[in-house]
């Protein structure tokens, strides 16, 4: 059983009833970090049913530099995963993630350089802007009092659940095993053991995830449990890793591109742009998976109940490199569907992303407003889950028998020699494949790897 009262609420809930969100990106500049964390601690929303139902929610994540600033000794920091300690902007991580060229850390708004480093992220959620501002005002007093450098990024859940390019989002979010009971058992989307997202529980390989440790100390609040060897405290228990990435979307550019390219692919169809965009995504704007076709029901569960193998003809409707296929290949990898599903289960993410910037009305001219997705994903193993999905599936040129393509929406990386210097996206089907030219409309604007400790872990870190 999950220790819900010690797990931060965001891990277990997307806070759908609090559509407004604000992310404070914090730099610990003075000596007040611990005192500030200790103040925030009492407000942190946990994963208990009662707290998750509150209208105002608050969670806190810390980066490696933040942990260091909070006085965590180096001996403890090295027990954190290497990727986390390096940080998202490390040159090696940037290569792995494809954050190169125009997407490289030196161009980011935050998290890319020492000057814009992120020590902590304070995430707050409320039902409306008034509540959000009220809570912000209280929090901002503390920022000043404890001498923290803070910038903020607002985001929201769109009422119609459609992201800026016009597609229904968040349909295939992970279902945790062992927690809530689901009546529908989806054979194409296996339940994932909680240890894939929360440290201290069994993971997809039937093991306990590696968990960071800290020296034993006494405190006024409840401290983390001792590790098996009883020489250290299990700082990781009930914690989770949070990937934060601000991805800007050029909506007008995207619409222009799908109209141009779509009219080439479907010359006589008035809905050519929309049809072509669906091929890039792998779902229609309403979320109907191309792999299954329109006969599917419209409920969220139904829209997630499909694989890529129900007969070759049907599977061919969805391009091999379509975004949703790369992000979650389901039963479609290799020869054995069951093996594929098990493999995929070890590379899932809980997504908690929200939109920023106002939507661009259909047909409207480019208003030059910043908009996009504030992508957030939770996992227990950054390397095996988030980075793997990014590197091997989304950015992997060899995904599913392809040779020189990356994800048509979010793919990025160095130019591929075999690709003749231009990027392509290919449509398979009966007869000849069609190679379309691909342009990019998503830009990485900032990001960080954060750790969301359990409540006892936070108490440990806040202890003076």
């Amino acid at each position: 059983m999950l220790e819900r009262g010690d797990i931060q609420g965001l891990v277990l809930s997307g806070y759908a009833s609090s559509p407004r969100a604000r992310c404070f990106l914090i730099q610990f500049t003075g000596a007040g970090a611990k005192a500030w964390l200790s103040r925030v601690l009492s407000r942190v929303t946990t994963g208990t049913r009662r707290e998750r139902a509150a209208r105002v929610r608050l969670n806190v994540g810390l980066s490696a530099t933040g942990l260091r600033a909070l006085g965590l000794p180096e001996a403890s920091l090295v027990t954190f995963p290497r990727e986390f300690v390096q940080g998202m902007a490390d040159p090696e991580r940037a290569l792995v993630l494809g954050d190169v060229g125009a997407q490289a850390p030196e161009h980011w708004e935050f998290g890319g350089t020492e000057r814009t480093r992120v020590d902590a992220a304070l995430l707050i959620y409320a039902a409306d802007d008034a509540e959000l501002d009220e809570l912000s005002a209280e929090l901002e007093e503390d920022f000043e009092r404890f001498g923290l450098e803070v910038s903020e990024q607002d985001s929201y859940l769109p009422a119609d659940q459609h992201e800026h390019f016009g597609f229904r989002d968040g349909l295939s979010n992970v279902r945790l095993a062992g927690g809530l009971r689901f009546r529908n058992n989806n054979p194409f989307d296996l339940r994932v053991p909680p240890g894939e997202f929360v440290l201290g529980y069994l993971n997809a390989y039937g093991r306990f995830p590696e968990s960071p440790q800290a020296p034993v100390r006494q405190g006024t609040r409840r401290m983390p449990r001792l590790t098996d060897a009883r020489r250290a405290m299990d700082l990781g228990e009930n914690g989770s890793f949070l990937v934060l990435r601000k991805l800007a979307q050029d909506v007008a550019g995207f619409r222009g591109y799908v109209a141009r390219e779509g009219s080439q692919v479907f010359p006589d169809d008035p809905r050519a742009a929309e049809r072509f965009a669906s091929l890039l995504v792998g779902r229609t704007q309403e979320g109907v998976p191309l792999a299954r076709g329109p006969e599917l029901g419209r409920g969220t569960n139904e829209l997630n109940r499909f694989g890529y193998r129900d007969g070759e003809r049907l599977a061919a409707r969805c391009p091999l490199g379509a975004h949703v296929r790369r992000a979650n290949p389901r039963d479609g990898l290799g020869d054995d569907p069951a093996e594929s599903l098990l493999h995929v289960r070890a590379h899932r993410l809980i997504r908690r992303g929200r939109l920023f910037g106002p939507p661009l009305a259909p047909g409207a001219a480019d208003d030059r407003q910043a908009r996009g997705i504030l992508f957030m994903a939770l996992c227990a193993n950054l390397r095996r889950q988030f980075e793997f999905v990014q590197e091997t599936w989304l950015n992997g040129p060899k995904f599913s028998g392809l040779t020189h393509e990356r994800d048509p929406l979010v793919g990025s990386g160095p130019p591929l020699a075999s690709g003749d210097g231009r990027e392509t996206f290919s449509l398979q089907g009966e007869g000849m494949r069609r190679s379309c030219s691909l342009e990019r409309f998503v830009t990485m604007r900032g990001g960080a790897y954060l750790f969301l400790p359990g409540l006892r872990g936070l108490s440990y870190l806040a202890e003076p």
């Binding site: 091999l320 793997f388 060899k398 392809l402 393509e405 007869g431 000849m432 069609r434 190679s435």
Partner: protein, 412 residues
């Protein structure tokens, strides 16, 4: 194009003069770009590396996967890179200088080590063939793109026939040589079951004994504080920098045999079975169900060190993941006989299934491989095999099935 050419493994362990190891390591890092450029001229070379194996008596491993006969390969290596390799050879004992043309070949041959198990995923395909097949595939894709409007209404067979005619027309410049070709691999692969049955007595015996030995290992770990496999941060950082962003990668890994004759015997048996499995797996290109290894080999040194060399597709993380998910038993059978491997039971169980422990153990014993060469660093195993298939179909009269297959295989 006769292609009855054998792919072989060259592994030579050159002894390093005392006190020269550090200098040699630094030299490998600095000279890697220049030497790999020269290696591109070695037409028989698929993959190759020079790796420093540190220790009381340090060695430089020269490891290549090559086409044809050893002698010719060594001559080619020397002709292409010889002069630039002299600073390395001068740091090795017994090297007397390039007094005569055959000196390099003789020196390397004097230090050869047989691979105990060797796997090749695309046997019979020479380097030239692999590269030409990739060009053919690219030209085919370009042709389909250019002639889209014309071809799209046609039936599969006619599309591919026209492509065939067009490609024949451009042969001379593209060196496509669309003539019938055969791969060297002939006959039927042995089934896994048959291989295991042939060794059934020794397997059963080893498993039974292993239960006892594993138990005693387990007890020893409980008594004494087990040697934790903590990789050195510097080495992990070096490996991480080498691997990041590559589509094809190299792993060099050294494990030490556990003491006692049981473990040595068990390892020998494991490697013999693995070698037979690897031969059979060459037909499908999948070793233990993993379709991302171009070449791999295990080499057991007399001092009990077991060196693993492999050339694989994608990231280390995805490679190790496949080890854990698909090949854990086979790998545990081999590496459970070496020091520090995660706890195993009955020789083949546990071990590599311990994800975190196995990854940590592998990293801790991995060696930096700064001087590594691939003749086709952007081609995956699956791609090499599919490209070859395209040529084989295009070289003959096109039938309906062949045409469909070609169009299915050209996916992007």
């Amino acid at each position: 194009m006769p292609s009855q050419v054998r792919q072989q493994a060259l592994t030579a362990m050159l002894p390093v003069r005392s006190g020269e190891a550090a200098a040699l390591d630094a030299w490998l890092v600095v000279e890697a770009p220049a030497i790999t450029r020269r290696l591109a001229h070695v037409t028989s070379l698929h993959f190759g590396r020079f790796v420093l194996l540190p220790g009381a008596e340090p060695l430089v491993a020269l490891e290549t996967s090559f086409d044809g006969e050893l002698e010719a390969h060594l001559d080619e290596l020397w002709a292409a890179a010889g002069a630039s390799l002299e600073p390395l050879l001068e740091r090795c004992t017994g090297w007397t200088g390039p007094g005569d043309p055959g000196a390099f070949g003789r020196y390397v041959r004097a230090h050869l080590r047989e691979a105990s198990a060797f796997f090749a995923a695309h046997p019979g395909l020479t380097v030239g063939r692999v590269q030409a097949d990739a060009r053919l595939r690219r030209e085919l894709g370009r042709y389909l793109d250019r002639q889209r409007a014309l071809l799209e209404p046609l039936a599969s067979r006619e599309i591919v026939q026209r492509a065939q005619a067009a490609l024949r027309g451009m042969e001379p410049e593209a060196r496509l040589e669309l003539v019938p070709v055969e791969r060297a691999v002939t006959g039927e692969p042995k089934s896994v079951l048959r291989i295991l049955l042939e060794h059934v007595l020794s397997l059963v015996g080893t498993v039974l004994l292993a239960v006892i030995y594993d138990l005693s290992d387990l007890l020893r770990r409980l008594w004494t504080d087990a040697e934790p496999s903590t990789p050195s941060p510097e080495l992990v950082a070096r490996a991480g920098r080498e691997e990041a962003g590559r589509l094809v990668n190299a792993l060099t890994h050294v494990a030490e045999l556990k003491p006692g004759s049981f473990r040595r015997g068990a390892l020998r048996l494991a490697l013999r079975i693995t070698d037979e499995l690897a031969r059979a797996a060459s037909f499908s290109g999948r070793l233990g169900g993993i379709e991302s290894i171009h070449f791999a080999r295990w080499v057991l040194l007399p001092d009990g060190r077991l060196v693993f060399f492999s050339n694989y597709d994608g990231s280390w993380e995805s490679y190790l993941g496949e080890f854990i998910e698909r090949a854990s038993r086979g790998l545990t059978m081999i590496w459970s006989n070496t020091v520090g491997f995660p706890t195993t039971f009955a020789w083949v169980l546990g071990g590599a299934r311990d994800e975190a422990g196995f990854k940590r153990w592998t990293r801790a014993r991995q060696l930096p491989t700064p001087l590594w060469y691939s003749a086709y660093p952007e081609l995956s195993v699956a791609e090499v095999r599919r490209n070859a298939e395209i040529r084989e179909i295009l070289a003959r009269d096109i039938d309906e099935a062949g045409a469909r297959r070609v169009l299915e295989v050209v996916r992007d």
